[in-house]
């Protein structure tokens, strides 16, 4: 069984935005949109869920903070509470100001790096990954909307030609 999709190309982001709204209104399913740069409001127009990456970042920050606190507390207070230049290593709270720079940096480090790695994993990006580009022009100056074909394909083609598309192609996807 073959799986047909339409590749609709635009050369302007405003036209694209209008087309997305029309497509959604006509209940065609948008599989993917390829753009050369971020188009503001495109995710909202497509009805995509908001990202939760900020929440993960916050949690990673808490992890970093815990790691830093556990580390300095164990090393400086529990394991070998030396008198270093008169700093009060009696309890964690007494010497805490000296640890704040470490705690801060570790929080930022964990929040930033783990969030970036999460981003790579969720968007499936890594070195030597095969590029999933349906049309090379989409990295330069064209916008491509991929729509699942259903029912009367010819009617769909004419519908998308009316949305300001510069090119409409029917593609067999395997």
């Amino acid at each position: 069984m073959t799986n047909k999709v339409l590749h609709v190309l635009y050369n302007d982001d405003d036209v694209l935005m209008d087309a997305v709204k029309k497509t959604r209104a006509a209940h065609h399913h948008i599989e993917e949109i390829y753009t050369p740069f971020p188009v503001h409001g495109l995710d909202k127009a497509m009805g995509l869920e908001p990202t939760r990456i900020a929440i993960t970042s916050f949690l990673y920050g808490l992890v970093g903070l815990s790691v830093a606190v556990t580390m300095v507390r164990y090393m400086m207070i529990i394991d070998w509470p030396q008198d270093i230049g008169g700093k009060p290593s009696f309890s964690f709270i007494q010497n805490m100001p000296a640890f704040v720079p470490v705690m801060f940096e570790m929080t930022v480090f964990f929040a930033a790096h783990l969030m970036v790695i999460t981003f790579y994993m969720r968007s499936k990006l890594w070195p030597f990954k095969k590029a999933e580009n349906p049309d090379v022009r989409t990295t330069d100056d064209h916008f491509l909307m991929e729509v699942a074909a259903h029912g009367d394909v010819d009617q769909m083609v004419s519908f998308f030609e009316n949305t300001g598309a510069v090119e409409v192609k029917v593609i067999e996807k395997h």
Binding site: F58, P81, P97
Partner: protein
Amino acid sequence: MYTFSSRLKTFSFILMILGVLGIGYSFFTAPKTVEDVEKILAAESHHDGHSGHDAAHHDAANNASKDAHVHTTQDVHSNDAQQKDAVDHAIHDEQDQGENADRHITGTPGRDSLATPAANEADTPGNAQQLPAGKSDIATANNQDAASAHHVQDHHSASEAGHAAHGAEAHDAHKEHQEHLEHVLHQLQNKPWAAVYVAAIFFMLISLGALAFYAIQYAAQSGWSPILFRVMEGITSYLLPGSILFFILLVLGVLHVHHLFIWMDPEVVKEDALIQGKSGYLNGTFFLIRAVIFLGGWNLYRYYSRKNSLANDEASDITLYKKNFKMSATFLVFFIVTESIMSWDWIMSVDPHWYSTLFGWYVFASFFVSGITAIAMITLYLKGKGYLEYVNTSHIHDLAKFMFGISIFWTYLWFSQFMLMWYADIPEEVTYFVTRIEEYNLPFFGMLAMNFIFPVLILLNTDFKRLSWIVVMAGIVILCGHYIDFFNMIMPATVGDQWFIGAGEIGAVMFFLGLFIFVVFSALAKAPLMVKHNPYLEESKHFHY
């Protein structure tokens, strides 16, 4: 056009009247003579609820016992929170210069009662488990209670030895007791003045913070804020009355009506080489000249920018806008220089032996975030009443982001100042924090929770920054927190351990809050709530984030 609602007007008048009553009460009840202080301290000692202390006081009914009573009263205070603190106090008191023989007698039972439970705790097996390498000094170190108990025991034996020596100096002791009473008298007499001073400078600086924010918005040609310009202008209208009242307070200081600034007292300067060395800068005349320049400069900018802003509503070109733009840039340069010097003059100089290089920035961050918070809260109030048609949640979101960011900036400066001094622990600069941590523990660390932890946790979320009630709640906490910040900057040097947030402090805040509300909303009612012909107005109306 906004009309000043009569209910809000009545509310502001009630605040002012109650405030004046509170201030008047605190002035009326401030002690006039050393005898009054003696009575107050005696009366305070009878409030001791702890049985052991009462017994100790009755046993030691001798002439100079009041002195000890003051200190034991403090002990009881902190005893409520934690015994460890109380013991620390006792240790601290031991080190006081004004120590005398009689105090040793009365003071000792109090310390014993505190030391006993602490010492018991040191014997529990739980604490023993923490001992690494069996070193006894580390063992005590690991447990604060135990450490304190040791100290107290040391001091106990030390004080017995000292007692014999002191016995011969009973006459000197009496003199020292009189000096102590005078010291407390000065602190108690400063109290109502300091309360008014803190509230006066706090509200004046809120409007100055809003003015600085306004100037930055002009100079940065920001596209989101022009529809809030009238709100900001309303808040900055308090600058003139506020700075007049504040200037009067400064003049009263120079005229020796109050004694908040000890460097103004020639008796003190005569015996103080450090202040003498600074008298080229810290002298009454120069101090007032500087104040006139600073307050005058800020008020001039405020007057002309408001005038141009109003005239711009009728303008046909952008000449006045460009004029305001240039004026704002100039003002910001003037502002940052004068703001820094202002913080030395009006805040740092109450502690004339202490100095800090980033103090100006620290004070700036404190009132800047308060000013932004005031803008956000008044915007939300007016929006709630339906006066700001074009203000949307994105504008509120932007203000909340500023509140959030500058709160963290404030904390950064607070910590940088604290940590550098704590770390180096140089006696001449660390005393500033020693007095604050020992005598102002709760306000000092409490404001950190209010100004940092609370806003960080609540304003971190994007959705929360768009909810009015969250922004208002965060705003109230931030404003209270920064009031306490100013309280912590002024009070330790002027009233010391006699601080209390009572009728005088609350009354002063109520009076200035009432005046602030009255002046600000009167000004808001004088002009349309939206500027016209601002080049960025259209963008601001459609601002969306």
